[in-house]
Structures are given as structure tokens and as C-alpha cells.
């Protein structure tokens, strides 16, 4: 007779399996193999911080009052007693000072939001720089870009809800961006705000969008995102025994379950620690929102900072066409440039496949140095964003480092054009130098620092040969040749679309021509075992 515990478990399992046939699915998937690497945890952090957001956010909704109804505050935060404010702001004060654990949950929620966005960006960088977005994973890349966009909007709406002076200023700016859209902008703004700014409806409206609409969409997209990862199997870094056709790693049960499940608790624990010791978004310091007040050093959260920085550095351009105003100083930094950035990002897998002519499936990741152009484009884009982000904090930087606002503004205005191309060139050079270093390492081994004097007096340094595993990791990548310039047939007649082909051949040459040939088996053999 089996022990009681096993009998109960058995009958539960039987009940479920007879109804949904779970055993077949689970038998296969509990042994599913996941490659292991620290950088694969970045997406996990994003997922877990989203779950933390759902949990802490639900707690907050029990007390938050999404209303702009004015009232006189009479809670336990003495400095604001007797002040007129919205119910949204007052209830946020109540959560912070009168509900036990309320302050903790608010801070956990805000920290988790910052972490959510940071983890998504880090995950995106990992996926980009290793080429994990290549076929067959382009669709998941696009989903990821969508999730990042939604995350940014969701974060902005979230910190706007308390209706404090800082967030109200952010909403005011968002309204101005809406209003700046040609033709429909004024209508869009009036529909969104139920009339002129600020009106009485935007807090209840963004509340619904923040707690229901966007989280619902994010949850749906994450589900598809993960299902695709599951179905397409995870990518892996190149290394001994790893090929395009296999996947090397640990089975889901027990190792991956314990590690991933444990990691959820670690992320939650760290967020809770931050919420316990690190004050964030102290809305009671800012005071309630009113359109006539403002505080110096008004800053958005970091993931909006680059956008604000672009707006700040924009030249004062406005034009009038047939008695209509077009605010280039808002449209360019607020909508056009971000639009180009995010569209370009979403389309990148297709742009790269077109430019390199590589349309095959890729399950092995690239080491960033082995795709110098992609890496350089990535660093260039990051440089652009970071310069914008720095300008988004120009007032804080000015006061902390004793610069004038004008100096920082002009420095970033110039840098935003100069630094990205410069970083492109430098990154590409660094990648090629690293390729060269790899080649040297494989062919000549590692410098050991041990000097030996030969009988005839010559000093040589002992080089230690790499292990076959290390050598393989450094040489297993493919080196594609540029697409030949096609289009001219034997009789010298140009085919249709030849210009397009020529451009493409040119681009592909730019991407693929300059690379350091990886060592071949023959070269390695000829050089022997590293004594030279």
C-alpha cells in the first residue's frame, strides 16, 4: 500500500489528467532544456518585476481614490493639514501615512516600476547585441518593442496618478504634446481631458488605463512573448558542443524551476528592501497640483528623461502655414524623433536581414564583436539616448556640478550630433580590435608573463595555448561575404531595380567587408603549439 500522501497526490493528478490530459504535455515539457547564462536573467527580472507591480498595485487600488474632487486634507501628515487638494492626492497621503504597509507598498510599486523598465532595456540590449532577434525570433522582438513602449506609457501614467505638483506638471507637458499634433491635436487634447486642461476627468481616466487597459495588454503580450520563447526554444551562446541544431542546458525540473522560482523571490526581496530603506517619489514634499505652481528641478522618471532632454534641447522653431501653428519645437523632439527611434528598432531585424542577405534561422548567439556594424549601431543609438537623458537632467547637473544651464544645453545640442557617429566609429574599431585579439589568442596562445632565456641569450615569453574549448568558442562564428553587386548581365545591360541592388550591395559591403579572418585549422596547425 502506498503512503497516504502519494495516494492523495495520485488521485488529484488523475482527476486533472482525465479532464485535460496534462500528463502528456508535462512529461514532455518538464524535461525541456534551458541554456544557462546570467544575461538570460534580465528578461526574467522584467517578468518578475511586472508580477510585483500587479501584486503591489492591486494593494494600492484598495485605498486610492481616482478623483479630482477637491477636499480639505485632514489626515495625519501635519504639514499639509487644512490644505485644499484632490481626493487622489489626499488618498495617496492616506496610503503613505495612515495605512499600515501603505508607504512600503507605494515604494515597492515605484521601485518595481523603475526596475521593470530598466530590466526591459537591459534585456533589449542583450537581445540586440547578441543578435537574438534574428530569424525566427523577429516577431518576438517586435512584441518586445511593443512591451517597452507600453511600459514607458504605463509608468508615466502611474506616477501621474497621485496628482502631486510634479506629476501634474508632467501631465501638463503631455497635454501640450497632444495639442501640438497638426490638424487633430486640439481635438485630441480636448477629448482626452474632457475639455480644457486640467479639467476634472483625467485622473479617473488614466486610472482605468493604468490599472486595467495597459496591464491587460502587457499581460497578454508577455504571455505570447513567453509562449514563443518556449515554442521556438531559447537561443544559446556559442561554445563547445553547442550548435544551431541543438540546445544545451538544464532541464526545467528541478534545476530551472528552483533557480527561476528562487530568482523571483530574490527580485521581490530586493524590491521590498528598496521599498523599506530608499524613499522614492515623496509626493508629500511636492504638494498638491495647481497649474500656477512649480518647483525647480522638475524631473520625470528616468525612462522619460531622454524624451524630456530632447524637448529641452530643441531649438525654438515654430512655423505658421495658412494661419495655423506648427510647433516644431514640440513635434520633432516629442513625436518625430521618438517615432523614428522606435520604428527603426522594431524593423531592425528586417533591415539587418536585408542588408546582409542572411535569411537563415539563427539559434546560436553572436558575440557582439563578431557583428561589428550591429554593435556599433547599438552603441550609437544608446549614445544618442544617453546624451538626451543627460540633458533631461541639465538643471540638476548644473546645480550639482556648477555649470550653467546654457553650457550643458549647448554641450548636449552639439554632442547629440557629434557623439553618436563618433561612438559608431570607435565601437566598430574596438570590435575589430577584439576580433584581432581573438585571432592572436587562438593562434599564439595566452601570454603567460613567464620569460625564458634561451641558451644563446635571447629572451622569449612563454605563450600558453588555449584549450580546444576556448579556441572553438572564439572561432565557431560564421563570417559572411558581402552580397555581390548584381544587376548587370553579360551584355552589360542593367536589369530592373539595379539601383536598389547597388545600394544594397554597397551597404552589405560596408557591414561585412571589414572583418578579421578567423583562424583556420590549417593556420593553427602550421603555427604549432605556441612556441614562437
Amino acid at each position: 500500500m502506498k503512503p497516504a500522501r502519494e495516494r492523495v497526490a495520485g488521485s488529484v493528478a488523475n482527476f486533472v489528467d482525465e479532464r485535460v490530459g496534462a500528463a502528456k504535455f508535462l512529461k514532455k515539457n518538464l524535461n525541456k532544456v534551458f541554456p544557462d547564462h546570467w544575461s538570460f536573467m534580465l528578461g526574467e527580472i522584467a517578468l518578475y518585476s511586472f508580477i510585483i507591480l500587479l501584486l503591489s498595485g492591486t494593494f494600492l487600488t484598495f485605498w486610492f481614490v481616482p478623483s479630482q474632487e477637491e477636499l480639505i486634507y485632514n489626515g495625519s501628515y501635519v504639514p499639509l493639514k487644512g490644505i485644499q487638494m484632490s481626493a487622489a492626492y489626499a488618498s495617496t497621503l492616506d496610503i503613505s501615512f495612515d495605512i499600515r504597509g501603505g508607504m512600503l507598498m507605494r515604494q515597492v510599486h515605484h521601485w518595481a516600476a523603475l526596475l521593470f523598465l530598466a530590466a526591459m532595456v537591459a534585456h533589449l540590449m542583450r537581445v540586440f547585441f547578441t543578435g537574438a532577434f534574428r530569424k525566427p525570433r523577429e516577431l518576438n522582438w517586435i512584441l518586445g518593442v511593443g512591451l517597452l513602449t507600453l511600459g514607458i506609457v504605463e509608468g508615466f501614467l502611474g506616477y501621474s496618478l497621485p496628482d502631486d505638483l510634479l506629476s501634474g506638471t508632467g501631465i501638463r507637458i503631455a497635454e501640450a504634446i497632444l495639442q501640438a499634433i497638426p490638424v487633430v491635436g486640439t481635438y485630441a487634447a480636448f477629448f482626452a481631458f474632457g475639455g480644457a486642461f486640467p479639467g476634472l476627468v483625467f485622473i479617473p481616466r488614466i486610472y482605468t488605463v493604468h490599472v486595467l487597459l495597459i496591464p491587460g495588454i502587457i499581460l497578454g503580450l508577455i504571455t505570447v512573448h513567453l509562449m514563443l520563447v518556449w515554442y521556438q526554444k531559447h537561443t544559446q551562446y556559442p561554445g563547445p558542443g553547442r550548435t544551431e541544431k541543438n540546445v544545451v542546458g538544464y532541464p526545467l525540473m528541478p534545476v530551472y524551476m528552483a533557480k527561476a522560482g528562487g530568482f523571483f523571490f530574490i527580485v521581490f526581496g530586493v524590491t521590498a528592501f528598496l521599498g523599506a530603506v530608499a524613499s522614492i517619489n515623496p509626493i508629500w514634499v511636492f504638494g498638491p497640483y495647481t497649474p500656477t505652481q512649480i518647483s525647480a528641478g522638475s524631473q520625470p522618471d528616468w525612462y522619460m528623461g531622454w524624451l524630456d532632454g530632447l524637448v529641452r534641447m530643441s531649438p525654438p522653431l515654430e512655423s505658421y502655414i495658412f494661419n495655423h501653428t506648427i510647433s516644431w519645437n514640440i513635434l520633432i523632439p516629442g513625436l518625430i524623433v521618438p517615432g523614428i527611434m522606435f520604428t527603426g528598432m522594431a524593423l531592425w531585424p528586417f533591415i539587418e536581414a536585408w542588408a546582409t542577405g542572411d535569411k537563415r534561422e539563427h539559434n546560436l548567439l553572436d558575440r557582439p564583436r563578431n557583428a561589428p556594424t550591429r554593435t556599433a549601431v547599438g552603441v550609437m543609438s544608446l549614445t544618442f539616448t544617453v546624451v538626451a537623458l543627460i540633458n533631461g537632467g541639465n538643471d540638476i547637473i548644473a546645480t550639482h556640478f556648477s555649470f550653467t544651464i546654457n553650457q550643458i544645453m549647448w554641450a548636449t545640442r552639439i554632442s547629440i550630433f557629434v557623439l553618436p557617429p563618433l561612438s559608431y566609429v570607435i565601437t566598430k574599431r574596438i570590435c575589430l580590435a577584439l576580433q584581432r585579439a581573438d585571432r592572436d589568442l587562438v593562434l599564439h596562445g595566452r601570454e603567460t608573463g613567464r620569460l625564458v632565456m634561451l641558451p644563446h641569450g635571447e629572451f622569449v615569453e612563454i605563450h600558453e595555448e588555449l584549450s580546444p574549448e576556448e579556441a572553438w568558442t572564439r572561432t565557431s562564428h560564421e563570417q559572411l561575404a558581402p552580397i555581390p553587386a548584381a544587376g548587370i548581365d553579360a551584355n552589360g545591360v542593367r536589369a530592373n531595380g539595379v539601383l536598389k541592388d547597388r545600394i544594397r550591395a554597397r551597404i552589405s559591403k560596408g557591414i561585412l567587408q571589414e572583418q578579421i579572418a578567423k583562424p583556420t585549422a590549417k593556420e593553427k596547425l602550421e603555427l604549432g603549439d605556441g612556441h614562437h
Binding site: R172, F190, G241, N246, G269, I330, N406, K518
Partner: protein
């Protein structure tokens, strides 16, 4: 060049599995087990701290901690309890996985995502066959009317959104300012005389209302003014704009012409107004001309005068909309 010359290095294959100490040493395994259990016990202690803090630490006790500063004890220990209770579950699980669970990497095969040609052909055949059985190809009338009705049904939700807000009308171009409206302080609602402002002084001003307690934020967002007094000879204004000032007192809309923030920072020495949102800087003596930053237009100036009783009042409404630009705004 022959092919063999370009041959890459050989893949040495997956390295042999290296055993950990706990895999063969029972003492090490026992030690690892104890470590994992201690981590789980720390988590339990965290939960106890959490419960204790929630119930027994009063909410009005503040403690001083280095680096963090003065902080609320209730919130701090509640948070630390939660942090420990969660973190150590995770730490225990990961330590367990790393020391005691099998660490042998296994190899699984991948399959190309593309379906086989057979499956593809079968799929197309099914679609065609089932489509044909529904008469999709033949019954064009049905297809077209369905397309029409589906297209139209999409309009309904769009239409439903119409009442989200009123049409703009003159909301963006009109403010409460009109000839004779008193300038009152914000806050305080006191009428102002020119003598109230010394040279170099700034006043934050709103239009007088019968029931100031009913003043709406919508109105404040358009009506807010800055009243600044400088020496009259310092103005560099044309005759019309100069006539809108009174003995060195000039009134500007406080709502930034860039994105609508309150332009509330006045630098007395340089006579510059600065918007803290995007650092647009306006020069007061020249009529709030933009001298730096992204704003494209000066702050609108309100014409003011002194009435028979000696109070400052508006001489006319704003001659242009205040606040950020919008499509319908005329030059």
C-alpha cells in the same frame, strides 16, 4: 584555395561533466543541506519580524540610521521583514539548485520552425477545400456585404468616444481677463495698488472673482499672471506694449508659451524669467522675449492700468491665446 585550407577549427564537443564536492562527499552534501535550511529559516524569521512590526511597532516612531537618515521605524522594519522573508526563500532555492540538484548539462535537439512541405500543402488544400465548401469564392454578394458591415461596425465604438470631451470652441483663446477686472494676489485674493510693488518685486496674480473659493483649476491654468516691477527706463518696448505697463509694472501670462508649465522663477538681477520644465528663459525688459531654450514665442503681455480708486486692473483682454501652441492658433 582549396576547401581544406579554409576549414575551421574542430568543435571539441561538450566538456566532460565536472562533479561538485557535494556530489560525492556526503559531508559536503549535508553541509549544503544545512546551509539551505538556514536560509529558509532566515526567511521565516523575516516573516516574524514583519508580523511583529505590523502589530507592535507604532506608526509614529522615527529612528536615525546612517546613510538613510531619519526614517519611520514601523515602515522600515515592516519592509525589512518582508524583504528578508522573500529574499531568503529565493536564496535558499537557488543555493539548493546550485549545490544539490543535478548540474549535468543535457543536450536537446532543435527542429526548424518551418513546417514540412507536406504539411504546408495539406494546409493550403484544407483552406481551399473548406473555403470552397463555404462558397467563399462563388458567393461574392455575401463577401461584399459582409465586408461592408464589418467595416461599418468598426465605426460604432469610434462614435461612442465622441462624448469624451467637448469641441475646443474658444476655450484656448479666451481667459477671464477683461477691461476693468481687478488684479488680486494669489494666494490671498487681495486687490493690488501700484505702491504694493517695490522695484524688483514680483507678484503672483489672478483675476478677481466674486466667489474666489469657486475658482476652477481650468481658469487658473489660463488666468495666472506674473506682475513684475522694474525701473520704467529699463523697458525696451514699442510704444504700444509700453502703454500696457504702468510705472514700470508689467504683467505677463505665467503659463509658458512652450508647454504650459508655470514660469515661476524670476531672477531679479538679470530680470530673466525661467521655466523650470525646459529652461526657456524670457527677458522681462524686452517684453518676455525668448533669449534661451525651446520656447518659440514671448509670454503674452496683459495691458494693465490703474482705476479711479487706485487699484491695478486689466486695461484689455489678452490680445492672443496664452499657453502652448495649437493648430488653430493664428500668428
Amino acid at each position: 584555395m582549396s576547401n581544406t585550407e579554409l576549414e575551421p577549427l574542430k568543435d571539441p564537443g561538450l566538456p566532460a561533466h565536472a562533479h561538485r564536492k557535494a556530489d560525492h562527499d556526503e559531508v559536503a552534501a549535508k553541509r549544503a543541506e544545512r546551509q539551505v535550511s538556514i536560509l529558509f529559516l532566515l526567511s521565516a524569521a523575516g516573516t516574524i519580524l514583519f508580523i511583529y512590526s505590523y502589530i507592535w511597532i507604532a506608526q509614529d516612531i522615527y529612528v536615525y540610521l546612517p546613510v538613510i537618515g531619519t526614517t519611520n521605524a514601523h515602515q522600515l522594519f515592516l519592509g525589512l521583514g518582508l524583504a528578508f522573508s522573500l529574499f531568503f526563500i529565493g536564496a535558499g532555492a537557488v543555493h539548493w539548485a546550485k549545490t544539490l540538484m543535478p548540474d549535468q548539462e543535457v543536450i536537446a535537439q532543435r527542429h526548424e520552425m518551418r513546417s514540412s512541405d507536406e504539411d504546408r500543402a495539406g494546409f493550403i488544400a484544407t483552406v481551399k477545400e473548406n473555403g470552397a465548401s463555404a462558397g467563399l469564392g462563388r458567393r461574392t454578394l455575401i463577401k461584399r456585404t459582409l465586408g461592408l458591415s464589418l467595416g461599418l461596425v468598426g465605426l460604432s465604438p469610434l462614435l461612442l468616444l465622441r462624448d469624451l470631451g467637448p469641441l475646443p470652441s474658444d476655450d484656448l483663446t479666451k481667459t477671464s481677463w477683461a477691461e476693468g477686472v481687478h488684479l488680486v494676489t494669489d494666494p490671498g485674493n487681495r486687490r493690488l495698488r501700484p505702491e504694493d510693488l517695490e522695484i524688483g518685486a514680483v507678484a503672483h496674480v489672478l483675476p478677481e472673482m466674486k466667489h474666489p473659493e469657486h475658482r476652477k483649476l481650468d481658469d487658473i491654468a489660463k488666468d495666472a499672471l506674473l506682475l513684475i516691477r522694474i525701473r520704467p527706463e529699463e523697458f525696451r518696448l514699442d510704444a504700444e506694449k509700453l502703454s500696457w505697463t504702468y510705472q514700470g509694472i508689467i504683467a505677463f501670462s505665467k503659463i509658458c508659451s512652450h508647454m504650459g508649465c508655470a514660469v515661476a522663477l524670476y531672477e531679479q538681477q538679470t530680470k530673466h524669467l525661467l521655466c523650470p520644465c525646459h529652461q526657456s528663459t524670457f527677458d522681462v525688459p524686452t517684453g518676455a522675449k525668448v533669449i534661451f531654450g525651446p520656447a518659440a514665442r514671448p509670454l503674452p503681455q496683459l495691458a494693465i492700468k490703474v482705476n479711479a480708486e487706485g487699484f491695478l486692473v486689466a486695461a484689455a483682454p489678452f490680445n492672443q491665446p496664452v499657453g502652448p501652441s495649437f493648430w488653430e492658433r493664428r500668428k
